[in-house]
């Protein structure tokens, strides 16, 4: 069984880093379209996408928002974190099959309110930066270790 463990406010150190890696599949992009309702063929129809300046399907830009929030929720600070805000810039397109590595760095700790600012850079498998951002979170004060939920399998028709 997998566990999720946090790093409480007092244990977090400015400059501390963590990586979170995710490969974006074509199915991820379809599921994103289902959740969001964003049915633009640029993301879903290879024939249409060929006619655009990208020449192929691209992921919805905010798939990076999902990755950064998951990184914060599971790595730094991890479970018990309250996600208060996020700034983000989308730098380059993400293509199906890309492997994204989100690197989090603790930028600043504010004792008042246990606020932590976390810098995030997401790079693809070529080392290109596709996303930069800063998360504002309320860090947990207590150690938490919980069993991760086993995800259902999904079938698309």
């Amino acid at each position: 069984m997998d566990y999720l463990e946090n790093i409480p406010f007092d244990e977090l150190q400015e400059g501390q880093t963590a990586d979170y890696v995710k490969t974006i599949s074509e199915d991820d992009i379809k599921l994103f379209a289902i959740i969001s309702g964003d049915t633009n063929p640029l993301h879903l129809d290879p024939e249409y996408a060929k006619t655009t300046r990208f020449g192929q399907c691209i992921a919805h830009g905010s798939i990076c928002a999902i990755i950064v929030s998951a990184a914060v929720a599971t790595r730094i600070p991890g479970p018990g974190t309250i996600y208060a805000g996020q700034e983000m810039k989308f730098k380059k397109p993400v293509f199906p099959g890309d492997t994204l590595t989100a690197t989090l760095t603790v930028q600043e700790k504010k004792r008042k309110g246990n606020i932590v600012l976390i810098d995030c850079v997401i790079r693809n498998q070529h080392g290109d930066t596709v996303f930069t951002g800063v998360s504002t979170v309320v860090a947990p004060t207590e150690k938490v270790r919980i069993a991760a939920v086993k995800l259902p399998t999904v079938e698309l028709r």
Copy 2:
């Protein structure tokens, strides 16, 4: 067949608004966990969620990031938009079954680079604000009308 139609830069007016409505199902939350890898039981396990201060499962906060990006991509300005950046604040939890209404308002047009700042407020069915944010987009300059893709159906096991 459904179509997606945009509002090009020249037609956009400061103060112009559009709504985008989405009900968040339990399956949406499971799919979000699958895409992101955020398997925190707070979002997925009702028994565990009962022991938290929320008393029940809540959606991942950044589900609102998906909603706002879909609103921008399909309504204002719509297809052809380049999503350059997003600031966001998560104000209140979103629960499974909540119906979210994202209200976009064109805040500012900048002729240089066809940049448009779009304010977004997301409210739940009780009228509570759960999210506020500002999107920075490069608006399309040409009218686009494209057929929306028919989404696959999804089965979770």
